[in-house]
């Protein structure tokens, strides 16, 4: 089983900010907007180097989305930055009408998604944003897993014509993907190959899934096929179907409510392709979060490495009975 090395803890959002600065230097059409969260999104460097192309909108997210749509009409490529909750639920109608329905080339970049925002609690956590954004026709939805992947994803979406939702987290997490990786929108990445169970994971839970797979292999010889689904929409049906045809069972893992999340999208693939294999969803069970440390929250809401292991054992037990 392929092993992944933790290159050290690093913030995913820093991957966004640093890539944005690189884009500022290499693409004159890239502009950035923020709603009084420049530092949180690591947009300081961009704002210093390219003051003409940086727009501090103030605490006015609706206005920010509209201004971004307007800038895109002049062939600029706007990147908006704020927290996931304020980037989606607060401005859903603005995104729906002025960006998605109007086919505008706006990149909605959202930090502090999921539970791992931590101590700020439910008002600032976002467990619904994937669902909201994937339901908008034409919207591309990306959820990256670590610093390096966020960096390359930020570069990749600048070349994609159309609205994109790019979701990433707040804390420093294990940085394990290759900085020289190619990032292909809509293409899932098979991280480890295995014959026993498919684990489809996104965001911070990709590393937890790899850990779960490692532990199960070392302790019980179970071979997990871990797939990193960084693009939730469009979803890479082929890669997932290929894997599940081999393993016959699947666990999905995400830092999101299970209503509307990646797990539901995977269930759609299974039903539309008439595959009645057992699926188990690691996701937040239809509740708001609370204050706490990121890892404590993953544990309390049953979406940490141990929970993934439990779900894997559950689907394996079902599979053996089938």
């Amino acid at each position: 089983m392929k092993k992944y090395e933790n290159q050290g803890l690093k913030e995913t959002r820093a991957g966004f900010g640093n890539a944005l600065t690189f884009l500022g230097r290499t693409n004159q059409k890239v502009v950035a907007l923020c709603a009084d969260l420049k530092t949180s999104l690591f947009m300081d460097q961009f704002s210093q180097e390219f003051p003409e192309r940086f727009f501090q909108i103030g605490i006015a997210e609706a206005n920010m989305m509209g201004i971004a749509a307007g800038l895109s009409i002049g062939k600029y490529i706007p990147f908006t930055g704020t927290f996931a909750n304020f980037a989606t639920s607060r401005v859903y109608d603005q995104i729906r009408q002025s960006i998605a329905y109007s086919y505008k080339n706006v990149k909605i970049c959202a930090s502090h998604s999921g539970l791992t925002l931590g101590e700020d609690g439910a008002t600032h956590q976002s467990l619904e944003d994937i669902g909201m954004m994937k339901m908008l026709p034409g919207m591309t939805v990306i959820n990256t897993c670590d610093y390096n992947q966020t960096y390359v994803a930020t570069l990749a979406i600048s070349n994609h014509l159309g609205p994109v939702y790019l979701r990433f987290g707040r804390p420093a997490v294990s940085n394990f993907t290759d900085i020289n990786q190619t990032f292909e929108i809509g293409k899932a990445i098979v991280l480890t190959e295995g014959k026993d169970v498919t684990i489809v994971s996104t965001g911070h839970l990709v590393w937890e899934s790899l850990e779960a797979a490692r532990i199960l292999y070392e302790k019980k010889g179970i071979e997990c096929e871990v797939i990193n689904v960084h693009t939730i929409k469009p979803l890479d049906d082929d890669t997932i179907l290929k894997s599940i045809n081999k393993t016959k069972c699947i666990v999905t893992a995400e830092e999101h409510n299970y209503w509307g999340g990646l797990g539901e999208s995977i269930a759609r693939i299974l039903t539309t392709h008439n595959r009645s294999f057992i699926q188990s969803l690691v996701a937040v069970n239809d509740t708001f979060g609370e204050s706490g440390k990121p890892m404590e929250l993953l544990k309390k809401y049953n979406i940490d490495c141990d929970s993934i292991i439990n779900h894997i054992q559950f689907v394996l037990s079902k599979k053996n009975k089938l």
């Binding site: 502009v31 003409e52 192309r53 727009f55 909108i57 103030g58 006015a60 609706a62 206005n63 920010m64 989305m65 509209g66 201004i67 971004a68 749509a69 307007g70 800038l71 895109s72 009409i73 002049g74 062939k75 600029y76 706007p78 109608d93 603005q94 729906r96 009408q97 002025s98 329905y101 109007s102 086919y103 505008k104």
Partner: protein
Amino acid sequence: MNGRYLKDLCIQVRRDILRMVNDAKSGHPGGSLGCTEYFVALYQKIMHYNPSQFSMEGKEEDLFFLSNGHISPVYYSVLARSGFFPIKELSTFRKLNSRLQGHPSVHGGVPGIRIASGSLGQGMSVSIGAALSKKLNKELNRIVYSLHGDGELNEGQIWEAVLYAGSRKIDNYIATIDYNGQQIDGSTDEVLPLGNLKKKFESFDWKVLEELEGNNIEKVINILKKAKNETGKGKPILIILYTQMGYGVDFMMGNNTWHGKSPNEEELKKALSQLPETYLGDYSL
């Protein structure tokens, strides 16, 4: 283009509005009739644009954004009669497979339309973004225009945008408020009084112009020219344009029940008799 032509065009646009809304059995005639002079003045005498080769970007062109999208009939009629798409296409308004959706959209690529509107309050932000892109592109003489309903000013996003445009000196932008004093549930004074709008915008660092005769084509042209002369002076510009909902049809004038109701056959006949067909002609059904 003489005054006679513009007056005839206003009459034909009003006939288009009434016939479109009647034919679709739905739509918003009141505000559309009230804004006819504004649209005719803007597209015939003020804006610089290229209707035969429409591009989304509109490089080196002036841009217009309709924020109160429900008055789409007047927008579609004036776009068609200004050369953006065939006049006969007006007969498809609000019907299946038409580009002319109930509220404006870029669906099907309607030439002349750059953003969807209908959910209110979003057009000023979009206009500011477009104005910023004109500045970035060094299109120094090009202006962005937008139109808003007075009732639309209830929306909070408008005030986010008003604050931003004033603070950031977006001075290549002319917003107009269609001030007819009516919204769906009654007068603006009943639903949510706007107070002293001029003072409010001025305190947000806007230059404010007012025109009391918003249904007088010469006066509307003049106020828009005046506004143009105010661009480039460090302030966004607002025109408060006093209009009459339903203007041109006596039983619709100033009556908010005609905000979103289509006239039946008899009402259509009566309305059209007050606006006799000109040499510009009706569109074919």
